[in-house]
Symmetry: C2
Subunit: 181 residues, 2 copies
């Protein structure tokens, strides 16, 4: 069974960089509750905040989402885990994301990393992603990882944090074991 | 219809670099006829030639395989073309391959580029690749692009050069048009 895991807003948290940029460059205070249902850079006056994504080093220094390391490590033992991330718009993101994974998820083999631009190209059994549009073109089961911009999305099974992901797949394994018994 | 196209030994020619390294570092003359059925770095005494792949700049300066640009441009008009290349073993290959594509294939949108480690993760209708192992895990039609190491491989439809690729897909389109008429 193959699980495809997204990076941004699932393993790595870009929001603090966006909030910092909004404050420092535009003097605007933003927090998670201010961009429910939309992206930080879709807020009035903050389109340019998105430009931090093009900066060398941006993706190298992001904080890890809580409990991601321990749960991905557990999944890696039981499933064929792939990290699939949208990267090809940002030429400096490749090495930054690669070294970030190497630091925080050293147990992930390089053959399990995919940098792409359009996730309709990959296939597998489960996809964990914060963007419904990535789940829309996926042929397996999509799990929507909660993030402020997707709070009103109702079409996918929602996982609010990594402990819920862990429990979801523990239940999956328990059910499979029961079926086989 | 989606066509997945490999880079190394299909769009870009690594062999001249291997031959140069074999000559300069080990004093061994190698040409295409010397490594029929195997990789250059699998020849006796040449294992270390493979290390050039880890060097910054290696993938930035490769020659383009003959007629690749014009034929890929034609395919790009008629199909959903993706460039899918094994890259994640080589941390400097990402930016080098990205800039190489930008220079030689500027019409390819970044969303159509995939850097991966294991091509079993992608799916599509056709795959053009010089390595049978990549075609082995592909669910669509595999086309084996001729290269010295694969000359004895018999399991796949072989295309010897880009003009043969062009003709193969022109026939495909003519047949589809005839079917629809």
């Amino acid at each position: 069974m193959r699980i495809i895991i997204d990076m941004d807003e699932v393993l790595a948290d870009n929001f603090p960089s966006f909030y910092r940029e909004a404050k420092e460059r535009f003097g605007i205070d933003v927090g998670p509750e201010d961009h429910r249902g939309r992206k930080v850079y879709d807020l009035p006056g903050l389109a340019e905040v998105r430009n931090v994504l093009y900066e060398k080093g941006h993706f190298r220094n992001l904080p890890v989402i809580e409990n991601a390391v321990e749960v991905v490590r557990e999944l890696y033992v039981h499933y064929e885990v792939y990290i699939v991330t949208t990267a090809t718009e940002f030429r400096y993101s490749f090495l930054d994301k690669y070294e970030w994974l190497e630091e925080h998820f050293p147990f992930i083999h390089h053959s399990r990393i995919v940098f792409c631009g359009d996730k309709s190209i990959v296939h597998g059994d489960f996809m964990i992603d914060d963007k419904a549009k990535n789940l829309d073109t996926f042929s397996g089961t999509g799990l929507l990882f909660t993030s402020s911009p997707n709070l009103d999305e109702k079409r996918y099974h929602r996982v609010n944090n990594w402990l819920e992901v862990r429990d979801y797949f523990r239940r999956q394994r328990a059910e499979r074991t029961a079926e086989m018994a």
